[in-house]
């Protein structure tokens, strides 16, 4: 069980905290509205729901087991899911301008950087020195960038800049092959090959 709370409380968490307060009077609501103005409408709805709920009588009604069965299936599907990958995409925060300037800083072109971003290159073949420079340019740790590069290639969407490469799940190639086929200048190719571990 994780006891630490995330710094930004979700709407659900704020409402739950509000709901278990000893009272839900004006003072309590005012305090929550002041603390969580972003959840104001949800808090008001919740305070009214709690007020109405207190006078609502729960009658025992005849129900079938179907809804409970469906809930059980949903529980089972979530509880057996593999852990979500904790790998963060270090390229996610780059805008088109910073993407291009990073390529320039690394003395490569956009296509090569796109291949790195899309994990189209076998991570094990990328020189460690190059990963260190890439990490420094991305403002991330070398390990975090390596973890990202090691994760399976995937179609990357949501990039707002134009690319000459059609987005697709690509088959991974070696770093050397990528250097040779990314339309880099002979000098750039030579510099990158010199980084080989």
């Amino acid at each position: 069980m994780i006891a630490e709370q995330p710094p930004d409380r979700s709407e659900e968490e704020v409402l739950l905290a509000f709901s278990v307060e000893p009272t839900h009077d004006r003072k309590t609501l005012e305090q929550y509205l002041a603390d969580y103005p972003e959840h104001a409408k949800a808090l008001i709805a919740c305070s009214i729901e709690l007020m109405v709920d207190a006078t609502r009588s729960v009658e025992t009604v005849a129900t079938s087991d179907n809804a409970v069965d469906r809930a059980w299936q949903r529980f089972q599907s979530v509880v057996s899911q593999p852990e979500e990958a904790s790998v963060i995409n270090p390229f996610a925060t780059l805008n088109p301008t910073s993407f291009k300037s990073l390529a320039k800083k690394l003395d490569i072109n956009n296509l090569m950087l796109i291949r790195l971003r899309d994990r189209a290159i076998v991570a094990a073949t990328i020189p460690r020195h190059f990963v260190q420079r890439l990490a420094a340019g991305l403002g991330a740790t070398t390990d975090a960038v390596m973890d990202y590069l090691r994760s399976p290639p995937a179609m990357v969407s949501g990039h707002s800049f134009r690319s000459t490469v059609k987005p697709a799940v690509t088959e991974q190639i070696t770093f050397e092959k990528a250097v040779e086929t990314s339309q880099l200048t002979p000098d750039q190719q030579e510099a990158l090959k010199a980084l080989q571990d």
Partner: protein
């Protein structure tokens, strides 16, 4: 001894179960699982021997933590049956179109929360061991805001006439009398129950205004430090008054009809 709750308040103090719930936990942890399950199976809240859901969810979590997955499923099914009963009352077929599907989705999402808690991920279930019904009402509110039908009347902010309908002076006077009226009547459980049920049937924008008025918020104030309804809802105070007046008119009709029955 039942394990203390792990979740903490904003000030760093841990949440605690009410004394009555702790007593139930101590009482039930010394009996065997089959006897506990027998006691949990009592569905009617007014039935003798009904065990609070705070206790049920505690033993549900404990069954998972101890690897007793067979017992866990039994606890889960009893809990979900209770949740379904509660949802049938809060989201009745008469209240909402498609109520059954909404109830199903809320149950499904709650099942997901339980699954996440079992996996040790940002468990929010501690809240349900403090006050189950209130916590579940909060959860329901949050889910309904995402999937429920919107009954909020869309009114441009800052307008003084919500829909062009003019509120007569008589209605406004009646509203003031209604809300500021006889406190004894408001405190009367039967009247309050009828009133809250009538409020529940109002459109969301009117419900917000009435709910806040009943909690003692002012509609407007010249003092900028006072949290008023107009400021909370970010609309013109005349819009608030119009919503209040229309709500009061509707409430009077509903309550008069109930009295006539």
């Amino acid at each position: 001894m039942p394990e203390p709750l792990k979740r903490k308040r904003k000030d760093g103090t841990p949440y605690e179960r009410p004394a009555g719930i702790e007593d139930w936990l101590k009482k039930l942890e010394i009996v065997d699982a089959s006897e506990r399950l027998r006691q949990f199976a009592t569905l009617g809240r007014k039935s003798p021997g009904y065990v609070p859901s705070e206790v049920l969810i505690h033993f549900l979590r404990r069954a998972w933590a101890e690897g007793m997955h067979g017992d866990f499923e039994k606890h889960f099914r009893i809990l979900m049956k209770r949740v379904e009963q509660s949802l049938c009352s809060a989201i009745s077929d008469a209240r909402l179109a498609g109520a059954r599907g909404i109830r199903d989705e809320i149950m499904g999402r709650f099942a997901e929360r339980i699954a996440k808690d079992c996996r040790g991920r940002v468990g929010l279930l501690d809240f349900y061991e403090v006050h189950f019904d209130q916590a579940f009402a909060a959860f329901r509110t949050s889910v309904l805001r995402q999937i429920g039908p919107s009954t909020v009347e869309t009114v441009p902010l800052g307008t003084d006439e919500d829909d062009g309908l003019e509120i007569s002076a008589e209605v406004e006077a009646a509203a003031a009398e209604f809300l500021g009226g006889d406190p004894e009547k408001i405190d009367d459980p039967a009247f309050r129950s009828a009133l809250t049920s009538a409020i529940d049937s109002l459109p969301d924008d009117q419900k917000q205004v009435i709910g806040l008025l009943l909690q003692g918020f002012q509609i407007d104030s010249k003092d900028k430090d006072v949290m008023t309804i107009a400021r909370i809802l970010q609309c013109d105070e005349r819009t608030v008054r119009n919503r209040r007046d229309r709500a009061c008119k509707a409430l009077k009709i509903i309550l008069q009809e109930e009295n006539a029955q």
